[in-house]
Amino acid sequence: MIREQLSGKRIVVTGSTGFLGTALVERLLRSVPDCELVLLVRPGRRGAQSRVDRDILKNDAFDTLRAAYADNPEAVGGQAGETFDQMCQRRITAIAGDVGTDGLGLDDDGRQALSQVDLAIHSAATVSFDSALDDAVHVNLLGPARVATALRAAAEQRIEPTPGGLTTGQPAYLVAVSTCYVAGSRRGNAPEQLVNESPFFVDIDWRAEVDNALQARRDAEQASRTPRRLAALRREAVQALGAAGTPAISERTESLRVKWVNQTMTDAGRARASSLGFPDAYAFTKALGERSLVETRDGVPIAIVRPSIIESALAEPVPGWIRGFRMAEPVIAAYARGLLKEFPGVPEGVVDVIPVDLVVAAILGVCARGPLHDEHGEQTPDVIQIASGSHNPLRYGQLVDLVRSWFTEHPVYDDKNQPIAVPEWSFPGRGRVSRQLNRAQRGLDLAERALDVLPLRGRQAEIGAELDERKDQLERANGYVELYGAYTECEAIYQLDRLYGLWNSLDPADQETFNMDPTSVDWPTYVHTIHLPSMVKQARLKMQPSRPASSSRSDRLRAQVLSPDRQLAVFDLENTLIASNVVASYAWLASRRLDTPDRLRLVIKTLREAPTLLSLDRADRSDFLRYFYRRYEDAPVDQLRADSLEMMSDLLITKSFPAGIRRVRQHRALGHQTLLITGALRVAVEPLAPLFDHIVAADMSQSGGTFDGQLLSVPPTGEARYQTLVDYADEHGLDLKESVAYADSSSDLPMLEAVGFPVAVNAETKLAAIARRRGWLIEHWATSPGAPNRVLPIGPRTVRGSRRNPRTT
């Protein structure tokens, strides 16, 4: 009956790229072979058709149908010799649009297509539980009403009747997907009625809410731009990146500001929702969305279908099918990884979960039945709930037991290949869990700050990076508790009288094909054999100890870095290839031609200055180098050149990382260009020239055979390095995406980010954290064991003529 009712109809679907939408499209294509579909999707960069092809039809939901078409298209209602793709092309029209915009953002073609539909299923929504208030308002609150308005306008524009026979002025039937949680956080029965019919509903003016949400966005934007806020954000950016240069810091500051605004809007949404008795902004805006739809539908026949929490499929298209990471999955994954030691909730509370295929069937059932009319022939909104709580409740305690027993039998493995034992929850209150997590987070914050001030590098610095990761995980766990905790307090029982009314009106064949009966779910089977196996696959949890991999992740990354396809390898010098710095080079060169007492004096003086130099360096490297290099004023060029050659052996190579030098040479052997970008003075690094194709260093002007202490150009540090790299690549026609960069410090971040293959070498804490998070190759290169110990960088004395030195006073 359902199939017959819908056959020959043209149906527009919104939200078809979502979980429910994809399931709907698949079901309609498969089970109603002679209907046509109009899919309204946001065009993105690629255009609507391409999004339909890539984001919908490529999904594994269609695997069964695709295979059936390859096998025998006629058996599944297709035309002889037709492929799946040809069938899609014949039956699906993609139109670009956005339910977040008035008029749905349709162009003429879109409006024309919309005027030719018989039926609309509106399943577009922003379901993320932490979406910003105004986004939720635009999509969830105003969306349904906009669709209704567009359908009404389309009906007026219609010239030819629709395939289903609607004539000009007859609006298409709109089935809008809402949520059970519009009933709000409360106990007791929640019947299938319009929200304002409930005695518990606080009736407010939804239009005022819209205005205020938009105003709240403007206010947040304003507040994010106050000098104090901007200063704080900048501090945070510097804290995370270190001396990465103005552009990088600015970029990070701006992204932090945007994040701050969004967070403020999320908080605003949650606050407003809970003030009116809703668990979150999603439920709240959905509730007002129903109100606005009913109020503004202007004769458009409507139905509202309210599912509870939609989860993986019971049977259709295949058991366990799921798209994306839903509400429960992140929590379950975190639990299986042993991260969530506790989660709030009461064991006898109901977790109202409903498999997606049951929801799809209910929606199609409503579509097939057509608009309802009261005794006066007036179309009345049809409201149908589909949930499990009233007829087949899954208790929270039972769910936790099922999950724990399954993961005990199928443990997730940690990175050391040990199975992770899942914790036993004691069902504490939400507050206690929050407090525990907050305490842990504060501890990590403190530890992190302590690590930050220590000058750590390499492996020690990675401890910091690990801490950072732990902090991230905790933050996420805390986020789940905050987001979903509210739902554990929703103890409403959603009534299903009208759903069963519909169910009972179906003939046995339909009941067989379109199962929408929540009592058909056997929870232990569903959780153990359907949901969890599919979920761990989706979440890519490590369910088997990885074999002692012949190639570790680092080896793989290293192989990529050393692939012949790479074009350029750019290196930083200090602490990347050599454990030394410009101050040491200077001290070495300056002390080379001094007698013993003067040498000592120079060393003591340089040591005494070290703190000042260091703080200058930390604040701005370019300024530091400019200031520092003034000491080379009056130094004879030739003599420095000769001394630098000696310094290569005595200081640079002695302090070099042989593995690093080897890497430079490997790149060259592979035919990559090698480039050294350093803030060191050119004369000091000239002896390394045979290693590289090109060296970018600080150039100092000279006159009459001596240096004058003035730099010819900005020493390449921070963003200057980035720019130098970009210029070099442009000049030589090299692709940075195919290039490798090696550096040790977050001040090189712009350079590292510019290339396709960044490598963090002996990274200091901040870079270690960033590299780890982004999955960059991390190398630990050490000086050669057996290298002479140079405690102080003093040049061995030379006797050859004692000409002038770099300034030492």
């Binding site: 290569m648 052996s649 190579i653 042989p658 030098i661 080897r662 002896p687 050669s784 003529g801």
Partner: protein
Amino acid sequence: MATDPRRQAPRPGLVLDVDRSTPPLLFHHGDNFRLEKLPAGRSRVIYAPEPLPGLPDPEGSIREALLNPIDHDPLPSLLTPGMKLTIAFDDVSLPLPSMRRPDIRQRIIEQVLEMAAEAGVDDVHLIAALALHRRMTEAELRHALGDRIYDAFAPQGALYNHDAEDHDNMVVLGTTRHDELVTMNRRAAESDLLIYVNLNIVSMDGGWKSTATGLSGYSGIKHHHNVATMRESKSFMDRHKSELHHSNWRQGDVIKNHGPRIFQIETTINNNTFGYDGPLSVLQKREWEWSARDRATFMGMKKGLDLMPSRARRSVFNNWKAPYELTSVQAGNVESVHEVTLENCLKQHLVPVEGQTDVLMFGLPYICPYNVNSVMNPILVMCLGLGYFFNMYRGKPLVREGGVLIMSHPTPWEFHPVHHPSYIDFFEQLLAETTDPLELERKYEKQFAEDEWYIHQYRKGYAYHGVHPFYMWYWGAHALQWLGRVIVVGGDPRSVRRLGFQPASTMQDALELASDVVGPQPTITYMHNPPILMADVT
């Protein structure tokens, strides 16, 4: 000096059969020592002859040699005003350890320069004939030649290190009848007279090897520094049985015909490596003759070394300058002079030994020719053991074919980044792939030899030439082919395995491992070296 009668009447070398009363024996173990008890009844120890007496008047003997050379005109008669004179001398790899000042080279060159000055020669260059070794530092040159010579010549650019990769300043002298290219430093080749000042510590040094190798470059040296030649040199310490030397002598013929006139000065020193008295003197005494004081000194030294970090131990030993004494000096015609030198050299080193052994043992010391003021890296451990020590034989190898070599050395995974850059890559990359000398030679020698960065480091820094680690490996090629197994006692297992050898933590374990190859109750020979000895095996 003449007071101790033992110094005037040194005892010859000795082969001692170990019995139950033999005390634990001293093994050099890098920059430390081990005392090991060897199984009685089937073990023997070979001791070097005691130091021969030094020449009482070295200056006089040198003068005598220069004025009355062998098969050659006296030096003063060769010196004429306006002539181009070049003095080439052995580099820092000789002697081992470095000797106390004044170095023999200084003593000889001072007299040569004096004669040259008297004759009015003012175009004099001094060249360290280091072939593909690392350049000598200022301090090392000052040590070898003295401050006076250094200050007089170095600032003018007339005292410098040979640079085999400075192609403008290398000349081809010709090819031998075996098609071996002969190249030479241009200044030396184009001089009216080339005086070579040699210092023989072992019988491999000197002769045509001084000029044909020392002043040559890769294109000339590769003809005898290769696996095939080294496998045919049995041993390379035995000049007349050594293919290495035959090749050098053929190149010498070319030099004779197409090169500069050569005045060869060769010297030999005695075995007084650690001194007759002083802290290390115990090292050149025979264990059962140690006095209570010797034992106390040794135990104290051992304890002290155990407590020191390895860097400190290394510098203690690197600072040791040997009180070597000159035992002979001869000058004149290269070939004639060298025969006399060999005679004098063998007089100090040769010990007659009867029969081969199943298991041969060495205690490897902290130094070899290529880590003066540097680090003894694993490749040098291999070269010192399987190259130098193994080849200290005349007749046939001390160990039977298929026998086992047990060496004692800590073999740390340590490299001097300035001196041995190509060694690091050779060890960490190439040896990970293969330890077969032929395969290494075939696949990688050319690549390393022509590597731009290594060449740069050799020329401008203080690095051994890129190809040098290959030569170290070839030096051991004869032994690698001969031996059934090599075991390193007390070595870092990681680096020992990388070398293709077996690590053992104690001598007991090593002997257990050896019995897999040579069966139970094998005969054992311990070569107690240094002081240096050479086995004359019959």
